[in-house]
Amino acid sequence: MTKIVARATDSDSNRRETPTPKESGSRVYLLVQWATQQRELTVVLVTLSVIIYFGIANSAFYTTANIITICQYLASFAVIGFGEVLILSLGEIDLSAGAVYLSSPWFMYFFWHNGMPIGWAIVASMACCAVIGMINGLITVWLNVSSLIVTLAVNYALFGIVLIGSNDIQVDMPGQTGLFSIIFGVGAWSTTLWAAAIMLTIWALLKRTRFGLHITATGGNLLAAAESGIRVRRVKVWCFIIISCASGLIGILDAIRIGTVNPGSSGLDTVLPGIVAAVVGGTALTGGRGTIFGAALGAIFLGVLEDGFNLIGVNANWFYLAEGVMILVAMIANTQLGDLARRIRR
């Protein structure tokens, strides 16, 4: 990573010294060309500079305890972000993933409360998540309703279901002891490792399998994909199921880690950082382009930002303004570099 930075600045100074950029040789050109082809490069640079800044500003930033805090914090929207990469690659959007994340521990709690063993309660809860994803997908592809609206409606419906089922009373999560708890959320690195595993799985799915290729094809050119015989509707429904299951799983883990679940949390506040992570990482909102590692970097960027602002003691009133501005800066850097890359490739 540091190598990239060093070479990038090297090319900058090169350009300044030579009066005519044409004569500065093809080396600079090749380097710029290479750099612009790395879709994740901007967010790497932006995240690195934020990390360096907070490290200098507060020595507590680099402590293991703080790194664990950041990782635990960002696991949720990283995983939601990975799912959104699939959905955005299709040219769709899923606003219900946050509500699924918040309601899956409730489903698990209800099953457990009614006598199911905790392991089976998790499985049953995941099945509920799969059904929710399937409903999102089926309404979107068969009834031709925009996924934005479908998933927004499902988001509110799930919120309502949790409120009704819980009577608006906070509960303690089961599974707080033993090896089970260490694997499923309570262990310091548990959620982080789960998130990493989900990242690798979804990455392999998107970039190494037929199914993933068909996701890109469906989002890139729906007509061509359908013409070639790809069952585009089925691809879409499966992606909605995958994001729901991933969000639901990380939701259960986070709930076990925290120990209690609160029925009043807002799903949108949870899903939007996930979408931001995916988009800041370089996934196009218009479909056809998705990068899982980009979403991971985007999630790290958001996590570091939130944690860093807390550490250096930014006034709470200023916090959201700063976060908003930083997201904008990252996004503008991203699109500008993308435009530059396109111009150079022409």
Binding site: T209, R210, T216, G220, N221, A225, G229, I230, G288
Partner: protein, 279 residues
């Protein structure tokens, strides 16, 4: 490996000037189609030989696009028969027609811009390892795509380039290549040279000639531009008033003759219109 060895249909057939019956890949007899009171096709007898490039000309409303829609399986004729390789067939869908080896190639609709040349060539026919898991064997597909493109002499600088970064001509060539690689033996090309520069056009003209002469692929080219048609085709059919009014080898006709034909048809229609107006 079998993929690499026999990617082309009819690669073994040699161009032959004699009119053997087996040389007829596509034949229609008395195709008719009406939409309500409007009779669009009134008995189209079209034939296409193996390795032949047939140009289809006709004014708007002459029935050209309806004929093409019937041939690619998008619409069914009211009456009449379609024969492929001498056997009567009926298409119920575009996929059905494709199964019989007829495929329409669209310039901009065919490719996924974000996928590479190799990925586009193998779209939905991907090679995988571990069977059901669908793990892509990307290296093998790249190699096969490369050798196939070399086979049909399509020069693409980088097999890993995204389709988006290619020129219009290259995209068209890839779209054609995909159809033939997936065993299409009759291609329907809709204005294949539209909006292309001289070099781009040359690329497609060469590809069309190579595929038809050396690989036995037959093609029907639909175009309004006579220059393009004379460049690409072996034979021309003019459709007027719902049937084939003119059928000539390209070497036996000229742009002038064709223009004259179209203009006289235009005047006939004009007179007809005026007569109707008077009544």
């Amino acid at each position: 490996m079998t993929e690499a060895e026999s990617p082309l249909v009819g690669a073994d057939s040699t161009p032959d000037a004699t009119l053997a019956a087996s040389d007829m890949v596509l034949e229609t007899v008395g195709l008719t189609k009406r939409f309500g009171a409007v009779v669009v096709l009134r008995g189209v007898d079209l034939h296409l030989r193996r390795g032949e490039v047939l140009g289809l000309v006709g004014d708007n409303g002459a029935g050209k696009s309806t004929l093409v829609k019937i041939l690619c399986g998008f619409q069914a004729p009211d009456t009449g028969q379609i024969y492929i390789d001498g056997k009567e067939v009926s298409f119920r869908s575009v996929a059905d027609a494709r199964r019989f080896g007829i495929e329409t190639v669209y310039q901009d609709l065919a490719l996924v811009p974000q996928l590479t040349v190799a990925q586009n060539l193998f779209l939905n026919r991907e090679l995988t390892v571990f069977g059901k898991l669908g793990w892509l064997s990307a290296g093998r597909m790249r190699r096969l795509a490369k050798s196939y493109l070399e086979d049909i002499k399509v020069e693409i600088p980088d097999i890993n380039a995204e389709a988006e970064s290619l020129s219009g001509g290259q995209r068209q060539a890839i779209a054609v290549a995909r159809a033939t690689r997936q065993n299409a033996k009759i291609l329907l090309l809709d204005e294949p040279l539209a909006a292309m520069g001289a070099r781009e056009s040359a690329l497609i003209v060469d590809l069309v000639k190579d595929l038809s002469r050396n690989h036995g692929v037959s093609m029907i080219v639909i175009d309004h531009n006579y220059t393009h048609l004379f460049e690409l085709c072996d034979r021309l059919n003019v459709i007027q008033q719902g049937h084939i009014a003119f059928d000539q080898q390209v070497k036996d006709t000229s742009v002038e003759e064709l223009t004259k034909l179209m203009v006289s048809e235009y005047h006939r229609e004009l007179a007809e219109g005026q007569r109707l107006l008077k009544e």
